[in-house]
């Protein structure tokens, strides 16, 4: 089971209303390589991954939910004081009509979260998928930082970008651990 802890993993300070920024950020909330997809993918893959790396999938999957909460907090704070007119100007008119000020699991283009999750039940296929997903998420964070001029948001996004790098690194090590295990079996 899980326990909630009443704090964010890393500070999210938002000083301004900026619905345009929120529209970009929602990519990492409900997009294909976003935090929800990552959390669900790892926590789904962990059941059939070899025991040697089950813990890693479990722990990274859990951390992704903390990242999801950080993104939601940014989106919420950036839009909570926006007028309907401002939301419309930012390209969130359709979002407002359907969801009001609620955050929602869709991507930057407004497409609802898709359960096109990759989980093959093959350890190498799953781990390579995970490495690729972390690198794609890292790129997305970089692209968002590149078009953002908000230093507070960029500080939080910089943290999340670094986490993608560490997760990718750990998944690469997991691949090597499984390869070692396979080699050992052949020797015996």
């Amino acid at each position: 089971m899980w326990y909630y802890e009443k704090k964010l993993q890393y500070p999210v300070r938002v000083g301004i209303c900026n619905p345009k920024m929120a529209k970009f950020l929602i990519e990492q909330y409900g997009g294909a390589d976003g935090e929800l997809a990552a959390a669900l993918r790892y926590l789904n893959q962990r059941y059939t991954i070899p025991g040697r790396v089950m813990g890693l999938l479990n722990d990274i999957g859990t951390e992704e939910f903390a990242h999801l909460e950080m993104i939601a907090t940014m989106v919420y704070k950036l839009t909570k004081d926006a007028t309907p007119e401002q939301l419309k100007e930012a390209g969130l008119g359709e979002h407002y009509v359907d969801h009001g000020k609620s955050v929602y699991y869709h991507n930057a283009a407004g497409q609802n979260f898709s359960m096109g999750l990759q989980s093959k039940g093959d350890p190498i296929a799953d781990l390579y998928e995970d490495i690729a997903a972390e690198e794609k998420a890292r790129s997305t964070y970089q692209w968002i930082i590149n078009i953002s001029d908000d230093p507070q948001i960029n500080d939080s996004l910089g943290f999340l970008r670094e986490r993608e790098i560490v997760h990718s690194q750990r998944f690469r090590e997991a691949v090597e651990l499984l390869k070692e295990e396979q080699t050992k079996k052949r020797v015996f």
Binding site: E5, K6, Y10
Partner: protein, 89 residues
């Protein structure tokens, strides 16, 4: 619309200290998942976990419970449900 929630300025710096030490624990956990025989990292994990518990205890005494389902104690009346929630500060 949720009411604006005020916290003292010290809340942010105290929270940041706790976030920093707990981040160390997340990082060490993932590292140890793939390097279980690194004794130095393991020692660092155990000592950091103790420091985190001390820091959390002090934080909760000032600002209320952090952990759900009985992993933090509550004063009367029930404090867990109190605002602010993390997305409000």
């Amino acid at each position: 619309m949720a009411e604006p929630t005020q916290v003292p300025e010290s809340y942010y710096s105290d929270l940041k200290s706790l976030q920093a030490i707990d981040f160390t624990l997340v990082e060490l956990t993932l590292y140890l998942d793939t390097h279980p025989n690194d004794l130095d990292a393991l020692k660092q994990f155990n000592s950091t976990a103790k420091k985190s518990a001390e820091l959390r205890e002090g934080f909760e005494a000032r600002y209320g419970p952090l952990r759900q389902f009985g992993h933090s104690l509550s004063a009367y009346p029930w404090q867990w449900k109190d605002t602010p929630w993390p997305w409000q500060v």
